[in-house]
């Protein structure tokens, strides 16, 4: 059952507001979230415990997040590392990834985006070799980018595919239209507040899934966004 991925996370972030939001967003049945607000607290935790994924802020009181990453790698720990940084600098990004971070996310970000990235890291770590993501009657081959409903293949476009994975990673959460737009089109998308084209993608995903015999899991949420739910 790959759909229920329990995560053990460490959130290293000095900004209280952000740390709490992340913690709250990730805490759900089965998940364990620990937090560290300072460099020394973070170092203590990584020396004592192992995590599935560490969310690592670069600028910390008392030290630099990059040296935490170096410590992890020097000790050959295999914790996934996602750098969250205010520095949208290519050099930083490259340095982080070169040092063995799994991903790099620039502030500000949507929690749903963070969740999707973390889920991807954990999937890669935990189920090495298997690229199958299963949710009820839907099974997705992440490598081949194919999708089956009740073992019958369904044709999805690239964006529809990304959208469905994004939804599944954020199961049970309301995802704002902004977050969806930014996920699918990147930061370049600052064209008015016209999200009609998101609606048409979601409509297509729902239609294709239901025509293939799957349940309708996607609900509109008060005109603000959408929610993927199995209830």
């Amino acid at each position: 059952m790959l759909s229920f991925v329990y995560m053990k996370l460490l959130i290293i972030e000095d900004e209280e507001g952000l740390r709490e939001s992340i913690e709250e967003y990730f805490t759900e049945a089965g998940n364990i979230c620990e937090t560290a607000a300072t460099y020394s607290a973070a170092v203590t935790k990584i020396e004592l415990y192992r995590y599935d994924c560490i969310l690592l802020d670069i600028t910390l009181p008392g030290g630099n997040g990059i040296s935490i990453l170096k410590k992890l790698k020097a000790s050959n720990y295999t914790d996934g590392v996602l750098i969250i940084s205010a520095k949208n600098s290519l050099d930083d990004r490259l340095e982080g990834l070169d040092l063995g971070a799994d991903d790099y996310l620039v502030k500000p970000f949507h929690l749903s985006e963070l969740k999707a990235r973390v889920s991807a890291i954990i999937r890669r770590k935990m189920y090495n070799g298997s690229n199958l993501l299963v949710f009820k009657e839907i099974s997705i081959d992440l490598q081949a980018r194919t999708l089956k409903v009740h073992d019958k293949p369904v044709k999805f476009t690239r964006k529809e595919f990304d959208l469905l994975i994004y939804f599944i990673a954020n199961k049970g959460k309301v995802i704002s239209k902004n977050a969806i737009a930014e996920h699918l089109w990147g930061d370049g998308i600052d064209i008015a507040d016209n999200f009609d084209f998101i609606y048409s993608h979601i409509k297509n995903v729902r239609k294709k899934l239901m025509e293939a015999g799957a349940n309708d899991y996607i609900q509109a949420a008060y005109g603000m966004g959408y929610k993927f739910t199995d209830q």
Binding site: G17, Y25, L90, K107, H110, L111, V174, I191, S200
Partner: protein, 415 residues
């Protein structure tokens, strides 16, 4: 007007005026002196006549002389007033020259005679003419020498000034180049050089401070924006919103994402200006444009915009990250300022990239559109897109220009 031209003009006018005045005075003085000489000679002749009359009690014989003629005529007693006159000198029959004459009188044996002594002035005038010609010659020569000397001296003298000027013209507050020190012994230019160096250093320092401020401010803003964003994401997980609340939340999301994009743009701008992005690589623009267009396909479709392209293969060496931003900005710009059912035409060849779009039927002010925060009415952009595009182009020595050719707004990048 050039300094040299103005200087020459003033110089020549005063020289000519002074020379003319001098010439006139000179001419008058020489005329007067030579006339005086003539008059003295006439007086000598007169005295000779008087002496002759006194001695011989008869009029002297009138004989032909080369340059003097004397004539006597009877006249009523005391009717002649003694005076010098300008008159004619009869050289030969029917050939006259200008002359100087002395009218006098003499009484011989009780008879009253009018005496007229005339001298030719030809030689005098010749002399004046020669002197005048020499004077004119000297004036012309002096003018010529002045012109040449001025040119040489000014050019050499003002050389430091021109080199400082050149330095200033090349000065760019964003560049790290120093104003070169101009070597000169002239104190004023040394002072100018110092003042220029100080001012430009100050300008650079201020600019650096400003950039640092922008960067720091934008950085500091990132965290609160991130907190607002994450709190909003958390807030919408709590249940049951009324339609009114949803609308408010949507507006908040919109505002926060705009704020965050604005902030990113500012940071990016600082980074480009600081030339902090150096992932130079060879990029096939054709492929890049095709990728970007594919990414935006839904948006074209949604706005019913027809995109037509003519793309040649073109490689540039640049930062891929920045080229993506540049092209994306221009394409998004063409979408944002388009109308439903409009069109976008993209051309790529080895020399240039051209993007044309339909839109409002009036030209944009091409001197303003590339400045920061210049926005056309109704634009939802950050007002930094074109500034960033321009900066990126400058970074790679491309030129970016705008034209309005009915019915298309056109942006051209020349490689």
């Amino acid at each position: 007007m050039k300094l040299l031209t103005l200087y020459n003009r003033v110089n020549i006018i005063t020289t000519v005026v002074v020379m003319l005045i001098t010439g006139i005075i000179y001419y008058q003085a020489i005329s007067w002196i030579l006339n005086d000489q003539n008059d003295k000679a006439l007086k000598v002749e007169e005295d000779e006549v008087f002496d002759y009359v006194k001695l011989n009690r008869q009029l002297p014989q009138v004989f032909e002389s080369k340059d003097q003629q004397i004539s006597f005529a009877e006249a009523p007693a005391n009717s002649v007033k003694r005076e010098f006159i300008n008159t004619q000198y009869q050289k030969e029959k029917n050939e006259y020259e200008s002359g100087r004459g002395l009218v006098s009188s003499v009484t011989v044996n009780g008879k009253y005679y009018k005496v007229l002594i005339v001298e030719s002035k030809v030689e005098t005038e010749d002399l004046i003419q020669i002197i005048f010609a020499i004077t004119i010659g000297v004036i012309l020569l002096l003018l010529l020498v002045l012109l040449v000397a001025n040119r040489l001296i000014l050019n050499r003298l003002w050389q430091p000034f021109y080199s400082i000027l050149r330095e200033l013209q090349l000065f760019n507050v964003t560049e790290n180049r120093e104003i070169a020190k101009t070597d000169t012994r002239i104190e004023e230019f040394n002072q100018l050089n110092q003042a220029v160096t100080l001012t430009t250093e100050k300008a650079k320092l201020d600019y650096k401070d400003l950039k640092a401020f922008t960067e720091n401010a934008s950085h500091e803003l990132l965290t609160p924006i991130a907190v607002i964003n994450s709190k909003l994401d958390t807030l919408i997980q709590t249940d049951n919103f009324s339609e009114r609340q949803s609308k408010l939340l949507n507006d908040l999301y919109g505002a926060v994402s705009r704020l965050s994009r604005l902030n990113q743009s500012l940071l990016l701008l600082v980074k480009i200006e600081n030339r902090l992005l150096h992932d130079q690589q060879s990029i096939n623009l054709k492929t890049l444009i095709e990728e970007l267009l594919a990414q935006l396909e839904d948006i074209f479709h949604d706005k019913q915009i027809t995109v037509s392209t003519t793309l040649d293969n073109k490689e540039v060496t640049a930062s891929r990250y920045l080229m993506e931003i540049l092209l994306n900005n221009l394409i998004i710009n063409a979408v944002r300022h388009n109308h439903p059912g409009g069109e976008i035409i993209i051309d790529l060849n080895t020399d240039s990239f051209t993007i044309k779009n339909t839109g409002d039927a009036h030209a944009l002010p091409d001197d303003k559109i590339f400045t920061r925060f210049h926005k056309s009415s109704g634009s939802d952009g950050s007002g930094l897109g074109l500034t960033i595009s321009k900066q990126i182009c400058e970074n790679f020595n491309f030129s970016l220009n705008y034209q309005y050719l009915l019915p298309h707004h056109t942006f051209i990048i020349k490689f």
